[in-house]
């Protein structure tokens, strides 16, 4: 899911960087000062999730967990994901510093999208909560993969074949992330239902 340095064209890098800066600024405004530590802990979870590798066919995919981060943090997931990606680039060499903006948009954009798309379902509780959580995990990966494919094809049309393969390869990951997100949300709801009381979240 991390695009490496030296692949994308300059306009795409610049557009990604600009969008990421705007998203981060909005996200920082949405972080309640009392919950900064929780945001950084979820950022840590995203940071280590990329190290969990799942073999798919001849290649492999890794967990992203942007759906889970998105439904808990909302807009705050943009700075949380951006800083985790920055450290992944610095410490692991995943992605890179010039592609940080594009990678942030690819992973944090869908996180914010699923917060709005499936947040109301999760707030309802019961079966719709489990279904909403599953969809949030799955759709976040689907949207990220579409964005990734779009960015690659936007740079070079020859990436079209790669983009198609990519979509197919990510299907198992979509299902897995859906299940993990559903499991985590259902677990938290059962153990301490008020933890997932999203009712008093005020939409910006």
């Amino acid at each position: 899911m991390h695009i490496s340095e030296g692949i994308l064209s300059l306009p795409i890098l610049a557009a990604g960087g600009t969008l990421a800066i705007i998203g981060t600024a909005i996200g920082l405004k949405h972080i309640d000062t009392d919950h900064i530590i929780e945001t950084s802990l979820l950022s840590s979870a995203f940071f280590v999730a990329s190290l969990a590798h799942i073999p798919v066919g001849p290649g492999s995919v890794h967990l992203v967990l942007n759906g889970l981060v998105g439904i808990i943090l909302g807009w705050a997931s943009v700075p949380a994901i951006a800083i985790a990606l920055f450290l992944q680039a610095l410490l692991f060499g995943f992605g890179g510093l010039t592609v940080l903006g594009v990678n942030t948009v690819i992973m944090a954009g869908p996180a914010v999208a699923v917060y709005y798309l499936f947040g109301p379902m999760i707030r309802k509780g019961g079966r719709s909560r489990a279904l909403g959580a599953f969809c949030a995990g799955m759709v976040a990966i689907l949207l990220s993969t579409c964005l990734l494919a779009l960015v690659l094809v936007g740079t070079d049309r020859s990436f079209l074949a790669t983009a198609r393969l990519l979509l197919a390869a990510q299907v198992p990951l979509m299902l897995l992330e859906g299940v993990i997100t559903m499991f985590v949300v259902s677990f938290l709801a059962r153990v301490q239902p008020e933890l997932l009381n999203f009712a008093d979240r005020v939409h910006p």
Binding site: M1, H2, I3, S4, E5, G6, I7, K29, H30, D32, T33, H35, I36, I37, E38, T39, S40, L41, L42, S43, S44, A45, V48, A49, S50, L51, A52, H53, G59, S60, H62, I72, L73, G74, W75, A76, A84, L87, Q88, L91, F92, F94, L148, V151, T162, L165, L166, A169, V184, L188, V191, Q192, L195, N197, F198, D200, R201, V202, H203, P204
Partner: protein, 208 residues
């Protein structure tokens, strides 16, 4: 402003910690494409992997000279390796090997003239080192013709290349060891630390 109701810290922290413990000690697989190349005999061997012996199968390899001239193109085999004849290059020319792993993954390895055995400083062997290389030249009885000497030199060079190839392959494997536990723990520390600093700053601002 969006006042998110977050998970209380006492419940969230153990959950995150468990997640970290679950993932961190597992072989740190991830999608960074590691590329390593070395000279073996008359060939250049390229090795590409995603870390921890996960070869990049069918990775597109493009070999360019320092000036940007395309020298060779090919694909890696089932072991993530590609062997191709060493191109004829002017002295002091570097070779840039780019491997594309698809889905936006790319790794680059640059071979210096010294790596290629194409260093002008190395090719122009100084007189004193020539005698050091061939100490037996004056004293040893075999009166070899120039052709025989060249043949012998090639045999020795091939034998040495064969012997040291496993060592180079071992180095290539070490190159793809992936993120270390130290880096993983360090990264988590940074994230929590930054959060702590921000929280402390915010609370000081609130107090004022």
């Amino acid at each position: 402003m969006n006042r998110c109701r977050f998970l209380p810290l006492d419940k969230l922290f153990p959950t995150i910690l468990l997640l970290c413990i679950f993932f961190a000690p597992a072989p740190a697989f991830a999608h960074h494409l590691y590329v390593f190349a070395y000279v073996s005999g008359g060939d250049i061997v390229v090795q590409a992997s995603f870390g921890h012996n996960r070869p990049d199968v069918g990775g597109e390899v493009s070999v360019k000279s320092g000036a940007g001239k395309l020298l060779f193109q090919g694909k890696t085999d089932g072991r993530g390796m590609l062997r191709f004849p060493r191109p004829q290059l002017p002295p002091n020319e570097t070779v840039k090997i780019t491997v594309s792993g698809g889905a936006g993954h790319q790794g680059v390895w640059t071979m210096t003239p010294a790596d290629l055995g194409n260093d002008s400083a190395a090719t122009e062997v100084p007189a004193e080192s020539k005698s050091a290389i061939q100490p037996a030249h004056h004293s040893s009885p075999p009166a070899l013709s120039e052709e025989e000497q060249k043949y012998l030199a090639r045999l020795v060079s091939d034998a040495v290349a064969r012997e040291i190839e496993p060592l180079k392959a071992m180095m290539a494997r070490q190159m793809d060891s992936g993120p270390s536990l130290r880096n993983i723990i360090g990264g988590i520390g940074w994230l929590v630390g930054i959060g702590g600093l921000a929280a402390a700053w915010a609370s000081r601002k609130k107090q004022r």
